[in-house]
């Protein structure tokens, strides 16, 4: 719809704005200036104004930003004002941890089912979400209009499974497998590489400034 290309750095910050605005709403705060918000979030006020102005003028001179209005506008930008149907591939601890996080539903992510190869898990439910055998994947995706699949299986099978999911109509993959997926470029991939995150932590611990 929009034609201006928004930079990755801006997109990365949007969910954090959303989180802070949600907290402000809960505290009953009605309006906030870029300056106040910048102090809370520890970023520059200039960056906040620049970021938001990528999407339109949400503020008002002399007043600031209306918290709940801005909150809702960011939700629209992020697309979390609409429902997304999601399945989880791999019903191990990580898959179950995701299934158990009820807040995703409040953001419009409906977890329709989980899938696993382990016959002992089939038929079990996690917070009311049923675990199905892989054999039913194709029909399930088509019948439930599934757009997103969370991939929480070992990396050895991840690429193959991702390709299968795409061929069945999945448009986006939330990839927890420790590997990069090579998929057609109209398929969206968001990686969560926990081992890389832990290594970055290790770097920071190991190379901490001992001065000061």
């Amino acid at each position: 719809m929009d034609n201006k290309q928004i930079s990755k750095a801006v997109i990365k910050r949007l969910p954090r704005y959303y989180r802070y605005l949600g907290e402000l709403m809960q505290e009953g705060v009605e309006r906030i200036s870029s300056n106040e918000l910048s102090e809370k979030m520890k970023v520059t006020a200039s960056q906040i104004r620049q970021d938001l102005n990528n999407f339109g003028g949400f503020g008002q001179q002399g007043y600031g930003y209306n918290v709940s209005y801005l909150y809702n506008e960011i939700a629209k930008i992020l697309g979390i004002d609409k429902q997304h149907n999601l399945i989880i591939i791999g019903a191990g601890n990580l898959g179950q941890a995701i299934a158990n996080y009820a807040n995703f539903e409040r953001r419009g992510f409906m977890i329709k089912g989980m899938f696993d190869v382990n016959p002992r898990l089939i038929g079990m439910t996690v917070r009311g979400i049923e675990i199905y055998p892989i054999e039913q994947l194709e029909s399930f995706i088509k019948e439930n209009d599934v757009q997103i699949a969370a991939l929480t299986i070992p990396k050895a099978k991840a690429e193959e499974m991702a390709e299968k999911l795409v061929s069945y109509g999945v448009k986006a993959i939330w990839n927890f497998a420790h590997t990069d997926l090579n998929l057609p470029k109209d398929v969206v991939v968001e990686n969560v590489h926990l081992s890389e995150s832990l290594m970055r932590l290790s770097y920071k611990v190991s190379n901490m400034d001992t001065g000061k």
Copy 2:
């Protein structure tokens, strides 16, 4: 030790280099040029050479890089050649998922124990890792030389718990709680905000180029 400040962008890429070099080693590849690696990883060869040269000349003109040498050097930079003692706070699905990921141990991260407030979990083990009551936290951290704590508890208690951990001597927090932690700046924090990751995915799905 080193004084030149390495940029965050470089650090972020290091674990990925490490992963690719590990795979090359497994395939028995002995040497690789920045150009070959750049094609595999889909980054520019120039970036690879620039990144690595932040830490020293690991390559050789006319030859390229020795895979296993470079692999080991990156491990040293990341600090994963040394052992790190780790505990997990919160023995729910996410905590257990981390405990179950055996590969962390191969990278030197020894999971010494898990902690939870739920009395029904106390005494249970996950892959040989025992779940202890929170009351034993302080003594356990001191006795086991724990440097890193993975925080997989709800955000309401996260800040308070993080402060406790720091006061007991923990130097780094791997934060899975959906909140920012405000800790002294000599404490390392690495955030894994899954809900933000999912929102970024949502943005990409919602704003995909329909052209082409």
